[in-house]
Symmetry: none
Subunit: 199 residues, 4 copies
Amino acid sequence: MRRNKPKYKQIIEAAVVVIAENGYHQAQISKIARQAGVADGTIYLYFKNKEDVLLSVFREKMAMFVEKINEAIAEKETAADKLFVMIENHFRILSEDKNLAIVTQLELRQSDKQLRYKINEVLKDYLQVLDHILEYGKEQGEFSAGLDTRLARQMIFGTMDETATTWVLNEHKYDLISLAPQVHGLILHGCKANGKLSK
Amino acid sequence: MRRNKPKYKQIIEAAVVVIAENGYHQAQISKIARQAGVADGTIYLYFKNKEDVLLSVFREKMAMFVEKINEAIAEKETAADKLFVMIENHFRILSEDKNLAIVTQLELRQSDKQLRYKINEVLKDYLQVLDHILEYGKEQGEFSAGLDTRLARQMIFGTMDETATTWVLNEHKYDLISLAPQVHGLILHGCKANGKLSK
Amino acid sequence: MRRNKPKYKQIIEAAVVVIAENGYHQAQISKIARQAGVADGTIYLYFKNKEDVLLSVFREKMAMFVEKINEAIAEKETAADKLFVMIENHFRILSEDKNLAIVTQLELRQSDKQLRYKINEVLKDYLQVLDHILEYGKEQGEFSAGLDTRLARQMIFGTMDETATTWVLNEHKYDLISLAPQVHGLILHGCKANGKLSK
Amino acid sequence: MRRNKPKYKQIIEAAVVVIAENGYHQAQISKIARQAGVADGTIYLYFKNKEDVLLSVFREKMAMFVEKINEAIAEKETAADKLFVMIENHFRILSEDKNLAIVTQLELRQSDKQLRYKINEVLKDYLQVLDHILEYGKEQGEFSAGLDTRLARQMIFGTMDETATTWVLNEHKYDLISLAPQVHGLILHGCKANGKLSK
DNA sequence: TATGAATGAGGGTTCATTCAT
DNA sequence: TATGAATGAACCCTCATTCAT
């Protein structure tokens, strides 16, 4: 199994660094090879082609995302709490690896439609975690029974994603993790003034 | 003034069609020229370079977005209503021009960092419309006083954008406009079951 | 006759300025037209094509060269004196119009082989002036009877030309005209130490 | 070291042929590659860009010029003899490689100002050989003590260059090498009839 | 496995020239 | 005569991929 060999990971990590430092369109195979300390041709022993390298970057990182977040979620009881740790961990992982944040929020989006579709397939694993929380919340009566899971998932992911992208575009100059409580609040209660406060 | 000449608009419209049909990276100047019914060189009488064509596509379309939405908003009294017509019109404009939807939701995002930054500058006009609604809602007591405008704006835009992108990725196979009420509800009240309403 | 109309001269002078300021390859018809204060198309009412403009620049200027130099030569008696005023005037004309110097010594040489051949045809008028001086000198016994006119002409023209070109490449930072006596001396006597002087 | 690899020389030689046969402005990289029997891209493994190819042609050939001429000069005792073998070898090298003659005398002069300056830098090595002969001749009392080295160098180089260019423009239809003695004579003694000295 | 030299397709842009007004 | 908007051909260079070693 190629994916377990050390050079596989080595190339993936090199790709993240090269893309973050040079941008998507300047991330040539030769640069990735040099960063990984292998020859250009060697990359083709581990990956089918360049698209496969980029997709693998996303796949590996997303798997890590899902794993970490599933762990964190499991420890919480309520859907609201699960949602909170999901948001917080989403922000934390990006905060802890700024290169990864640049790559996923800005650079990989420059890939063409074909790769975008494949990336969206991989993303589904992550979105399912969200769906599970939403279904669980509805079952428990925490979330509104009439909630459309797909729409709610789009709201939550769209909000987290837009928040993270804005943070990267602002060159990480404020703390992303500390926005988690407010984002959580917005997602749970929306913008509307709630009864007591607005009175 | 070049921008008022008929060929200017003609080239912009041709660019939308070509990008939608061929994808960002396959939208060569020669294809756009052919679609517009002009010679390749003519494009350079109206635009500085290819990037200028693409940025102008976004600028012209976004101006149209802002204009239409400002008109619609002006007719409404409450912030909640303004927000509703904004969401509905955002979805309506994309629904009415599927090529435009493909271009703004998928293709133009493949532009490189430099163009992305310029596009983001143009986008600010649109985001400001959102900010005005949010501020207005807070003034009127409709929206919670403690609402962070920037975060709320990111939530709203992120939600609309993610909803629209998912719709495009699903090849417009369901009705986007009819999602507006639910999206509006989510943005106003969030996911949380609200005692009285859920009864 | 087109060549006597004011716009003909106007375009020629504009071409000299544009070529001197922008270089041969950056001397587009549109720049020359703008400098001359006419429309692009107007140039084609006076010249067959761009090559014709450039060749005409050379032809007009060379005619002026020949005329001025013939006048100066006529006043002198000996071949040596005629040669001296030729060298001095050659240097003087270039010194008095630095743009012309740049154009003839550097820029027009970048023209392609076809134009070079035509320019060489025009140059023949000038070289004939030299030939006449040489023949006259031989007749008068001033110049060595065995002198090969063509070779001597190449030596004289080559020397003047190389001297002028080096001066232009050095950005006119020394006085060209004052080199005339030494150049004259070299051409007459060569490098060799002459008996009496070397004693 | 790239310059020692066989393909480097191979591309240089191909460039000389292509430029001589097609002219400077028609010497496309693709033609040079085809002539060299390599792919277009291969040229860019050995040269930075097209200008680098052209400059290298001149640099390599000029180095050969300087080397051959230095060898020939070293064998001679007097400055006059050194000068003679320099002229003869200058003419001989061009005579032996007619393509090279076309390239250096006509085509490379069409390069733009930037490349011209770089070519002039390379040419300095050659001109220094001339300077050394002139200085040596003055030391030995062979050449006139008051000789201005720079001017004399310009005369000699200008004469040789003009003679060679005229020969190329006349399509090599007479023998260039056999002109060397007369050119040598002209350079040494000038045009002037030297009654007594010539006895 | 690993190397890295060689390949070759593909496109934005310029500008001399034309021609309807 | 004069205009200037429109034309469209032409080319350097990059880089993903291959394959002989």
